[in-house]
């Protein structure tokens, strides 16, 4: 799902890093939003709603709509459409509202 060649644009890509999403290892480019890396790996359903369990994905991709909340490194309710990817991130799907765990 990555654009390999573009007639107008060239894409600056960071170093390739791996991260996990629901336990599965994926790779993406450091610094790109988590949701963009997931999308490039074909993951478009990012969670389910708390009440009616409807599937949820991106809508705005610029941090407005909060349709993409996920738990990142244990921190719930992160807008992964704007959260930069870093090496070894542990991302988990949120089904319903996020839960903050006490260690």
């Amino acid at each position: 799902m990555r654009i390999e060649k573009h007639p107008i644009l060239t894409f600056e890509k960071g170093e390739t890093v791996t991260f996990t999403y629901n336990g599965t290892v994926y790779s993406g480019f450091k610094g790109e939003p988590i949701a963009s890396a997931l999308h490039a790996n074909g993951v478009r359903t990012l969670g389910h709603t708390h009440d009616k369990h409807r599937p949820r994905g991106l809508y705005c991709a610029i941090g407005n709509c909060s349709s993409c909340l996920a738990t990142v490194n244990g921190k719930p309710n992160v807008r992964i459409c704007v959260e930069p990817l870093t090496k070894g991130m542990v991302v988990t799907q949120q089904n319903g509202r996020g839960v903050l765990k006490n260690d």
């Binding site: 654009i3 894409f11 939003p33 963009s36 359903t45 599937p55 809508y59 991709a61 610029i62």
Partner: protein, 359 residues
Amino acid sequence: MIKTDVAVIGGGPAGMCAAIEAANAGAKVIVFERNLSLGGQLVKQTHMFFGSQKQYASKRGFDISKILRDQISQNKNITVMTNATVIGMYEDGVLTIEHDNKYKKVLPRATVVATGASEKFLPFNNNDLPGIYGAGAVQTLMNVYGVKPGDQVVMVGAGNIGLIVSYQLMQAGVKVNAVIDAAPRIGGYLVHASKIRRMGVPILTSTTVKTAHGTECVEGVTLVKLDENWKEIPDSEFYLPCDNLCIAVGLSPLTELMWQIGIEMAYVPQLGGYVPKSNKNMQTSRPEVFVAGDASGVEEASSAMVEGRIAGLNAAKFLGFKTTDTDSKLADYFEQADSLRSGPVGEKIRAGLKLAELD
């Protein structure tokens, strides 16, 4: 408390131009940008801009963004704070911000609100399925991060955004199955429409979305034809497959901050919804607060840049920063704004601006 002469909220085309003008007039400026870099939606625009040379006509949006960013980085009067979202605006003029995950307060002597707009949504069955994206999201994914939003798209909306994004999708190697619009006529520039039509993409006017299909992700869409009164024509439903349904039905100005301090607002559908009332100088009912770009009413980026220049220059002037060419520059910008809105396609904007005029 951070102090400055002028705070510019938003680093898109309007905000960048406002900052440049205010700083050139002598004011100390801080630009607050919620993203990690300046440019706003300009960085996603791969098409050449309309207008005249003064608004960088024939240059592509992302190239214009580079020009403005360079001017800002070379200007000693401008400080840029990225990853900084203004989250509150208060009666006493204080702005509260979230900057790199820290809460901070700012006290500017004047403020330019250039917060832009957010995408409108459309009500239809299953409109919340993953794969149904706003046009801005599609642009962000493919033009900033180089990720295809899907393999085959149905575009909802034949305004300029819908037409431009359809063209950009094809440039990214994505198939566009159709562009539809409920209106009986194409709303965007006809040259944009012809560009995608001659690539073989059907443009279906008087057509709207009835239902999206899919379980975990959108897989197709049922469309329906409308008569001249915008009523559904019985038995005219038809199905198109798609794994991305792109919604480009317009933008609404982002005005929350201005509501918070009681700035006088007006509901102007021609400008996208509620907008702050302002005078020719882009000054709101709070004399120290100026507005520019889509936040003052949704228009083209060319006008946003001119409005930014007017707002920045006037914010500086309001604080006493005035140079020998302030007035001649202003006269030029007013003329540019008028000229961009002067033709038949500017009619709606002109009508809207009249309703948003501050008495």
